[in-house]
Symmetry: C2
Subunit: 191 residues, 2 copies
DNA sequence: ACCTGAACACCGTTCAAGT
DNA sequence: ACCTGAACACCGTTCAAGT
Protein backbone atom coordinates (compact mmCIF):
# COMPACT_ATOMS: atom_id res chain seq x y z
CA UNK A 1 0.00 0.00 0.00
CA UNK A 2 2.76 2.44 0.93
CA UNK A 3 4.73 3.54 -2.13
CA UNK A 4 8.47 2.98 -1.96
CA UNK A 5 10.30 6.21 -1.34
CA UNK A 6 13.00 7.07 -3.87
CA UNK A 7 16.43 6.95 -2.31
CA UNK A 8 18.08 8.76 -5.19
CA UNK A 9 17.22 12.23 -3.99
CA UNK A 10 17.31 13.28 -0.41
CA UNK A 11 15.53 16.59 -1.00
CA UNK A 12 11.87 16.83 -1.89
CA UNK A 13 10.32 19.07 -4.50
CA UNK A 14 6.78 20.45 -4.51
CA UNK A 15 6.10 18.13 -7.45
CA UNK A 16 6.74 15.11 -5.25
CA UNK A 17 3.96 16.21 -2.94
CA UNK A 18 1.66 17.10 -5.82
CA UNK A 19 2.17 13.73 -7.49
CA UNK A 20 1.45 11.93 -4.23
CA UNK A 21 -1.68 14.04 -3.80
CA UNK A 22 -2.81 13.24 -7.35
CA UNK A 23 -2.43 9.51 -6.72
CA UNK A 24 -4.25 9.91 -3.45
CA UNK A 25 -7.24 11.63 -5.06
CA UNK A 26 -7.59 8.84 -7.62
CA UNK A 27 -7.52 6.28 -4.83
CA UNK A 28 -9.58 7.85 -2.12
CA UNK A 29 -10.95 11.20 -3.21
CA UNK A 30 -10.20 14.69 -1.99
CA UNK A 31 -10.57 13.91 1.67
CA UNK A 32 -7.70 11.44 1.44
CA UNK A 33 -5.38 14.31 0.62
CA UNK A 34 -4.24 14.92 4.19
CA UNK A 35 -0.85 16.37 4.98
CA UNK A 36 -0.41 13.97 7.85
CA UNK A 37 -1.24 10.94 5.69
CA UNK A 38 0.85 12.12 2.74
CA UNK A 39 3.97 12.90 4.76
CA UNK A 40 5.07 9.29 5.31
CA UNK A 41 4.32 8.47 1.64
CA UNK A 42 6.77 11.05 0.37
CA UNK A 43 9.12 10.32 3.24
CA UNK A 44 9.03 13.55 5.19
CA UNK A 45 7.39 15.15 8.18
CA UNK A 46 4.32 17.37 8.33
CA UNK A 47 6.56 20.29 9.16
CA UNK A 48 8.57 19.78 5.97
CA UNK A 49 5.40 20.17 3.93
CA UNK A 50 4.99 23.71 5.16
CA UNK A 51 8.38 24.63 3.84
CA UNK A 52 7.23 23.84 0.28
CA UNK A 53 3.62 24.97 0.50
CA UNK A 54 1.81 27.70 2.29
CA UNK A 55 -1.06 25.40 3.19
CA UNK A 56 -3.14 22.45 2.04
CA UNK A 57 -4.96 24.68 -0.45
CA UNK A 58 -1.67 25.49 -2.17
CA UNK A 59 -0.94 21.78 -2.48
CA UNK A 60 -4.29 21.23 -4.15
CA UNK A 61 -3.62 24.07 -6.54
CA UNK A 62 -0.30 22.50 -7.56
CA UNK A 63 -1.99 19.11 -7.84
CA UNK A 64 -4.69 20.40 -10.16
CA UNK A 65 -2.07 22.19 -12.26
CA UNK A 66 -0.12 18.95 -12.60
CA UNK A 67 -3.26 17.17 -13.73
CA UNK A 68 -4.05 19.93 -16.21
CA UNK A 69 -0.71 19.56 -17.90
CA UNK A 70 -0.87 15.78 -18.10
CA UNK A 71 -4.52 15.36 -19.00
CA UNK A 72 -5.41 18.30 -21.16
CA UNK A 73 -2.34 19.83 -22.73
CA UNK A 74 -0.57 16.54 -23.44
CA UNK A 75 -3.67 14.90 -24.92
CA UNK A 76 -4.60 17.85 -27.10
CA UNK A 77 -1.04 17.93 -28.37
CA UNK A 78 -1.32 14.31 -29.43
CA UNK A 79 -4.72 14.82 -31.05
CA UNK A 80 -3.59 17.84 -33.01
CA UNK A 81 -1.38 15.47 -34.99
CA UNK A 82 -4.44 13.71 -36.45
CA UNK A 83 -5.51 15.38 -39.66
CA UNK A 84 -8.93 13.76 -40.18
CA UNK A 85 -11.39 15.50 -37.81
CA UNK A 86 -13.66 12.47 -37.42
CA UNK A 87 -10.73 10.25 -36.45
CA UNK A 88 -9.47 12.97 -34.14
CA UNK A 89 -12.79 13.03 -32.33
CA UNK A 90 -13.01 9.25 -32.13
CA UNK A 91 -9.50 9.08 -30.72
CA UNK A 92 -10.41 11.64 -28.06
CA UNK A 93 -13.27 9.49 -26.81
CA UNK A 94 -11.06 6.41 -26.98
CA UNK A 95 -8.41 8.04 -24.80
CA UNK A 96 -10.95 9.47 -22.40
CA UNK A 97 -12.80 6.20 -21.94
CA UNK A 98 -9.72 3.97 -21.79
CA UNK A 99 -9.20 4.76 -18.13
CA UNK A 100 -12.21 3.93 -15.96
CA UNK A 101 -10.86 6.33 -13.36
CA UNK A 102 -10.69 9.23 -15.75
CA UNK A 103 -13.18 11.80 -14.62
CA UNK A 104 -12.36 11.52 -10.95
CA UNK A 105 -10.57 14.82 -10.86
CA UNK A 106 -13.19 16.51 -13.01
CA UNK A 107 -15.78 15.36 -10.48
CA UNK A 108 -13.77 16.72 -7.58
CA UNK A 109 -13.25 20.04 -9.34
CA UNK A 110 -16.94 20.32 -10.24
CA UNK A 111 -17.98 19.71 -6.67
CA UNK A 112 -16.51 23.11 -5.88
CA UNK A 113 -14.93 21.72 -2.80
CA UNK A 114 -12.03 24.03 -3.50
CA UNK A 115 -12.18 27.47 -5.09
CA UNK A 116 -8.70 27.14 -6.61
CA UNK A 117 -9.99 24.12 -8.49
CA UNK A 118 -12.51 26.32 -10.26
CA UNK A 119 -9.77 28.31 -11.98
CA UNK A 120 -8.23 25.16 -13.40
CA UNK A 121 -11.63 23.76 -14.31
CA UNK A 122 -12.52 26.90 -16.22
CA UNK A 123 -9.23 26.86 -18.10
CA UNK A 124 -9.50 23.18 -18.99
CA UNK A 125 -13.13 23.51 -20.06
CA UNK A 126 -12.40 26.46 -22.31
CA UNK A 127 -9.44 24.68 -23.85
CA UNK A 128 -11.41 21.51 -24.55
CA UNK A 129 -14.41 23.27 -26.04
CA UNK A 130 -12.05 25.26 -28.25
CA UNK A 131 -10.50 22.02 -29.40
CA UNK A 132 -13.90 20.52 -30.20
CA UNK A 133 -14.98 23.66 -32.00
CA UNK A 134 -11.92 23.19 -34.20
CA UNK A 135 -12.96 19.62 -34.96
CA UNK A 136 -16.43 20.68 -36.10
CA UNK A 137 -15.04 23.61 -38.09
CA UNK A 138 -12.79 21.12 -39.88
CA UNK A 139 -15.88 19.01 -40.56
CA UNK A 140 -17.32 21.94 -42.46
CA UNK A 141 -19.66 23.54 -39.93
CA UNK A 142 -19.83 27.31 -39.86
CA UNK A 143 -18.40 28.94 -36.69
CA UNK A 144 -21.69 29.30 -34.80
CA UNK A 145 -22.83 25.77 -35.62
CA UNK A 146 -19.38 24.37 -34.83
CA UNK A 147 -19.54 26.05 -31.44
CA UNK A 148 -23.00 24.61 -30.68
CA UNK A 149 -21.93 21.12 -31.74
CA UNK A 150 -18.76 21.41 -29.69
CA UNK A 151 -20.78 22.39 -26.65
CA UNK A 152 -23.20 19.52 -27.08
CA UNK A 153 -20.34 17.08 -27.68
CA UNK A 154 -18.61 18.24 -24.55
CA UNK A 155 -21.73 17.85 -22.46
CA UNK A 156 -22.15 14.31 -23.80
CA UNK A 157 -18.54 13.73 -22.90
CA UNK A 158 -18.85 15.11 -19.37
CA UNK A 159 -22.09 13.28 -18.78
CA UNK A 160 -20.59 10.00 -19.88
CA UNK A 161 -17.68 10.52 -17.51
CA UNK A 162 -20.04 11.32 -14.71
CA UNK A 163 -22.27 8.32 -15.37
CA UNK A 164 -19.31 5.98 -15.48
CA UNK A 165 -18.20 7.23 -12.09
CA UNK A 166 -21.50 6.38 -10.51
CA UNK A 167 -21.24 2.93 -12.02
CA UNK A 168 -24.90 2.13 -12.30
CA UNK A 169 -24.44 -0.49 -14.97
CA UNK A 170 -26.24 1.85 -17.34
CA UNK A 171 -23.23 2.76 -19.40
CA UNK A 172 -22.34 -0.04 -21.81
CA UNK A 173 -18.85 -1.56 -21.59
CA UNK A 174 -16.40 -3.20 -23.98
CA UNK A 175 -17.52 -3.54 -27.57
CA UNK A 176 -20.99 -2.24 -26.72
CA UNK A 177 -19.42 0.98 -25.47
CA UNK A 178 -17.54 1.37 -28.75
CA UNK A 179 -20.79 0.88 -30.64
CA UNK A 180 -22.57 3.36 -28.44
CA UNK A 181 -19.87 6.00 -28.86
CA UNK A 182 -19.84 5.40 -32.60
CA UNK A 183 -23.59 5.98 -32.70
CA UNK A 184 -23.32 9.12 -30.59
CA UNK A 185 -20.56 10.52 -32.78
CA UNK A 186 -22.71 9.80 -35.83
CA UNK A 187 -25.56 11.78 -34.35
CA UNK A 188 -23.27 14.62 -33.31
CA UNK A 189 -21.43 14.99 -36.61
CA UNK A 190 -24.46 14.65 -38.89
CA UNK A 191 -25.10 18.00 -40.64
CA UNK B 1 -27.04 34.87 7.46
CA UNK B 2 -28.14 32.78 10.40
CA UNK B 3 -31.59 31.33 9.85
CA UNK B 4 -34.14 32.17 12.49
CA UNK B 5 -34.83 29.24 14.72
CA UNK B 6 -38.44 28.19 14.96
CA UNK B 7 -39.79 28.73 18.43
CA UNK B 8 -42.87 26.63 17.82
CA UNK B 9 -41.22 23.32 18.60
CA UNK B 10 -38.73 22.85 21.35
CA UNK B 11 -37.69 19.39 20.21
CA UNK B 12 -35.66 18.79 17.09
CA UNK B 13 -36.18 16.10 14.51
CA UNK B 14 -33.55 14.51 12.27
CA UNK B 15 -35.21 16.31 9.34
CA UNK B 16 -34.35 19.67 10.92
CA UNK B 17 -30.68 18.75 10.81
CA UNK B 18 -30.96 17.29 7.31
CA UNK B 19 -32.66 20.41 5.96
CA UNK B 20 -30.01 22.62 7.52
CA UNK B 21 -27.33 20.43 5.98
CA UNK B 22 -29.00 20.62 2.56
CA UNK B 23 -29.06 24.40 2.72
CA UNK B 24 -25.47 24.40 3.86
CA UNK B 25 -24.31 22.27 0.91
CA UNK B 26 -25.99 24.62 -1.56
CA UNK B 27 -24.27 27.56 0.09
CA UNK B 28 -20.82 26.31 0.84
CA UNK B 29 -20.38 22.76 -0.38
CA UNK B 30 -19.88 19.53 1.50
CA UNK B 31 -17.15 20.83 3.74
CA UNK B 32 -19.53 23.39 5.19
CA UNK B 33 -21.62 20.59 6.65
CA UNK B 34 -19.95 20.59 10.04
CA UNK B 35 -21.77 19.48 13.16
CA UNK B 36 -20.26 22.31 15.13
CA UNK B 37 -21.31 24.93 12.58
CA UNK B 38 -24.78 23.45 12.10
CA UNK B 39 -25.62 23.18 15.79
CA UNK B 40 -26.24 26.91 16.39
CA UNK B 41 -28.25 27.10 13.15
CA UNK B 42 -30.74 24.52 14.33
CA UNK B 43 -30.51 25.82 17.87
CA UNK B 44 -28.92 22.92 19.68
CA UNK B 45 -25.59 21.67 20.91
CA UNK B 46 -23.16 19.31 19.23
CA UNK B 47 -24.04 16.70 21.81
CA UNK B 48 -27.69 16.85 20.83
CA UNK B 49 -26.77 15.98 17.28
CA UNK B 50 -25.44 12.63 18.40
CA UNK B 51 -28.73 11.73 19.93
CA UNK B 52 -30.39 11.90 16.48
CA UNK B 53 -27.56 10.61 14.33
CA UNK B 54 -24.85 8.06 14.77
CA UNK B 55 -22.29 10.29 13.09
CA UNK B 56 -21.74 12.92 10.39
CA UNK B 57 -22.00 10.23 7.69
CA UNK B 58 -25.52 9.37 8.86
CA UNK B 59 -26.50 13.02 8.59
CA UNK B 60 -25.23 13.13 5.02
CA UNK B 61 -27.21 10.01 4.21
CA UNK B 62 -30.39 11.60 5.53
CA UNK B 63 -29.56 14.80 3.67
CA UNK B 64 -29.13 13.00 0.37
CA UNK B 65 -32.36 11.09 0.93
CA UNK B 66 -34.20 14.36 1.55
CA UNK B 67 -32.81 15.75 -1.68
CA UNK B 68 -33.77 12.60 -3.57
CA UNK B 69 -37.39 12.93 -2.52
CA UNK B 70 -37.61 16.63 -3.34
CA UNK B 71 -35.62 16.70 -6.54
CA UNK B 72 -36.31 13.41 -8.24
CA UNK B 73 -39.52 11.83 -7.01
CA UNK B 74 -41.46 15.07 -6.79
CA UNK B 75 -40.36 16.28 -10.21
CA UNK B 76 -41.00 12.99 -11.96
CA UNK B 77 -44.44 12.94 -10.39
CA UNK B 78 -45.19 16.35 -11.88
CA UNK B 79 -43.82 15.38 -15.28
CA UNK B 80 -45.82 12.18 -15.44
CA UNK B 81 -48.91 14.36 -15.67
CA UNK B 82 -47.81 15.67 -19.09
CA UNK B 83 -49.16 13.47 -21.87
CA UNK B 84 -47.14 14.79 -24.82
CA UNK B 85 -43.64 13.29 -24.59
CA UNK B 86 -41.90 16.18 -26.32
CA UNK B 87 -43.48 18.70 -23.95
CA UNK B 88 -42.64 16.43 -21.03
CA UNK B 89 -38.99 16.45 -22.03
CA UNK B 90 -38.93 20.20 -22.61
CA UNK B 91 -40.50 20.79 -19.22
CA UNK B 92 -37.85 18.62 -17.56
CA UNK B 93 -35.06 20.75 -18.99
CA UNK B 94 -36.94 23.90 -18.02
CA UNK B 95 -37.26 22.78 -14.41
CA UNK B 96 -33.69 21.57 -14.26
CA UNK B 97 -32.24 24.75 -15.68
CA UNK B 98 -34.48 27.16 -13.81
CA UNK B 99 -32.31 26.97 -10.72
CA UNK B 100 -28.70 27.93 -11.39
CA UNK B 101 -27.71 26.07 -8.27
CA UNK B 102 -29.29 22.83 -9.40
CA UNK B 103 -26.59 20.31 -9.95
CA UNK B 104 -24.66 21.19 -6.82
CA UNK B 105 -25.70 18.05 -5.03
CA UNK B 106 -25.18 15.90 -8.11
CA UNK B 107 -21.63 17.26 -8.28
CA UNK B 108 -21.02 16.48 -4.63
CA UNK B 109 -22.42 12.97 -5.01
CA UNK B 110 -20.35 12.32 -8.15
CA UNK B 111 -17.18 13.39 -6.44
CA UNK B 112 -17.49 10.24 -4.34
CA UNK B 113 -16.59 12.18 -1.28
CA UNK B 114 -19.02 9.98 0.57
CA UNK B 115 -19.81 6.33 -0.14
CA UNK B 116 -23.38 6.66 1.13
CA UNK B 117 -23.92 9.26 -1.54
CA UNK B 118 -23.20 6.68 -4.20
CA UNK B 119 -26.24 4.62 -3.24
CA UNK B 120 -28.52 7.60 -3.67
CA UNK B 121 -26.77 8.65 -6.86
CA UNK B 122 -27.25 5.20 -8.36
CA UNK B 123 -30.92 5.16 -7.43
CA UNK B 124 -31.58 8.64 -8.80
CA UNK B 125 -29.66 7.95 -12.00
CA UNK B 126 -31.56 4.73 -12.64
CA UNK B 127 -34.86 6.45 -11.98
CA UNK B 128 -34.13 9.35 -14.30
CA UNK B 129 -32.88 7.21 -17.16
CA UNK B 130 -35.99 5.05 -16.81
CA UNK B 131 -38.10 8.17 -17.03
CA UNK B 132 -36.28 9.33 -20.16
CA UNK B 133 -36.56 5.88 -21.72
CA UNK B 134 -40.31 6.21 -21.24
CA UNK B 135 -40.29 9.54 -23.04
CA UNK B 136 -38.51 8.11 -26.07
CA UNK B 137 -40.71 5.02 -26.09
CA UNK B 138 -43.73 7.35 -26.18
CA UNK B 139 -42.07 9.12 -29.10
CA UNK B 140 -42.19 5.86 -31.00
CA UNK B 141 -38.65 4.51 -30.59
CA UNK B 142 -38.24 0.78 -30.08
CA UNK B 143 -36.99 -0.26 -26.60
CA UNK B 144 -33.28 -0.51 -27.47
CA UNK B 145 -33.25 2.78 -29.38
CA UNK B 146 -35.27 4.49 -26.64
CA UNK B 147 -32.72 3.33 -24.11
CA UNK B 148 -29.81 4.64 -26.17
CA UNK B 149 -31.50 7.99 -26.70
CA UNK B 150 -32.37 8.22 -23.03
CA UNK B 151 -28.77 7.59 -22.11
CA UNK B 152 -27.50 10.21 -24.52
CA UNK B 153 -30.10 12.70 -23.34
CA UNK B 154 -29.13 12.13 -19.75
CA UNK B 155 -25.44 12.64 -20.48
CA UNK B 156 -26.30 15.90 -22.26
CA UNK B 157 -28.33 16.84 -19.22
CA UNK B 158 -25.57 15.99 -16.73
CA UNK B 159 -22.94 17.69 -18.83
CA UNK B 160 -24.99 20.85 -19.06
CA UNK B 161 -25.41 20.87 -15.29
CA UNK B 162 -21.73 20.36 -14.81
CA UNK B 163 -20.77 23.08 -17.29
CA UNK B 164 -23.11 25.56 -15.68
CA UNK B 165 -21.51 24.91 -12.32
CA UNK B 166 -18.08 25.79 -13.61
CA UNK B 167 -19.52 28.97 -15.05
CA UNK B 168 -17.10 29.49 -17.90
CA UNK B 169 -19.45 31.69 -19.85
CA UNK B 170 -19.63 28.92 -22.41
CA UNK B 171 -23.18 27.90 -21.65
CA UNK B 172 -25.68 30.34 -23.16
CA UNK B 173 -28.13 32.09 -20.84
CA UNK B 174 -31.63 33.52 -21.07
CA UNK B 175 -33.33 33.23 -24.45
CA UNK B 176 -30.16 31.87 -26.04
CA UNK B 177 -30.24 28.99 -23.58
CA UNK B 178 -33.83 28.22 -24.54
CA UNK B 179 -32.81 28.21 -28.19
CA UNK B 180 -29.86 25.99 -27.48
CA UNK B 181 -31.94 23.49 -25.51
CA UNK B 182 -34.58 23.51 -28.23
CA UNK B 183 -31.90 22.70 -30.81
CA UNK B 184 -30.45 19.94 -28.65
CA UNK B 185 -33.87 18.38 -28.08
CA UNK B 186 -34.47 18.50 -31.83
CA UNK B 187 -31.25 16.60 -32.45
CA UNK B 188 -32.02 14.10 -29.71
CA UNK B 189 -35.59 13.35 -30.73
CA UNK B 190 -35.00 13.15 -34.47
CA UNK B 191 -35.50 9.55 -35.63
C1' DA C 1 18.00 26.13 2.48
C1' DC C 2 15.51 22.39 4.16
C1' DC C 3 13.76 19.61 7.81
C1' DT C 4 12.11 17.93 12.57
C1' DG C 5 9.12 17.61 16.61
C1' DA C 6 6.45 19.79 19.81
C1' DA C 7 2.61 22.81 20.43
C1' DC C 8 -1.94 24.69 19.45
C1' DA C 9 -6.61 25.20 17.11
C1' DC C 10 -10.53 23.16 15.08
C1' DC C 11 -14.03 19.91 14.68
C1' DG C 12 -15.81 14.93 15.02
C1' DT C 13 -17.12 11.89 18.61
C1' DT C 14 -18.05 10.09 23.41
C1' DC C 15 -20.08 10.23 27.72
C1' DA C 16 -21.58 11.29 32.39
C1' DA C 17 -24.87 14.13 34.15
C1' DG C 18 -29.07 16.94 33.80
C1' DT C 19 -34.43 17.69 32.67
C1' DA D 1 -36.59 10.65 25.74
C1' DC D 2 -33.83 14.42 24.65
C1' DC D 3 -30.24 17.63 25.65
C1' DT D 4 -25.89 19.89 27.69
C1' DG D 5 -20.96 20.64 28.47
C1' DA D 6 -16.70 18.83 29.26
C1' DA D 7 -13.29 15.70 27.51
C1' DC D 8 -10.54 13.43 23.98
C1' DA D 9 -8.74 12.30 19.16
C1' DC D 10 -7.42 13.75 14.70
C1' DC D 11 -5.37 16.67 11.51
C1' DG D 12 -4.20 21.51 9.71
C1' DT D 13 -0.94 24.96 10.89
C1' DT D 14 2.90 27.42 13.43
C1' DC D 15 7.34 27.82 15.11
C1' DA D 16 11.69 27.39 17.58
C1' DA D 17 15.44 24.68 17.02
C1' DG D 18 18.42 21.59 14.34
C1' DT D 19 21.58 20.36 9.97
Amino acid sequence: MVAAVSKTKARLTPEDWAQAALDSIAEGGLSSVAVEALAPKVGASKGSFYWHFQDRAALLEATFALWEKAKTEAIIEELDGIADPRRRLRRLFAIALSNPRAGRIEAVLSSQAHPQGMTVLRRVTTRRVEFLTGVFADLGFDPAAARRRALMTYTVFLGLFSLRQSDVGIVPTGAALDDYVEGVLDTLTRP
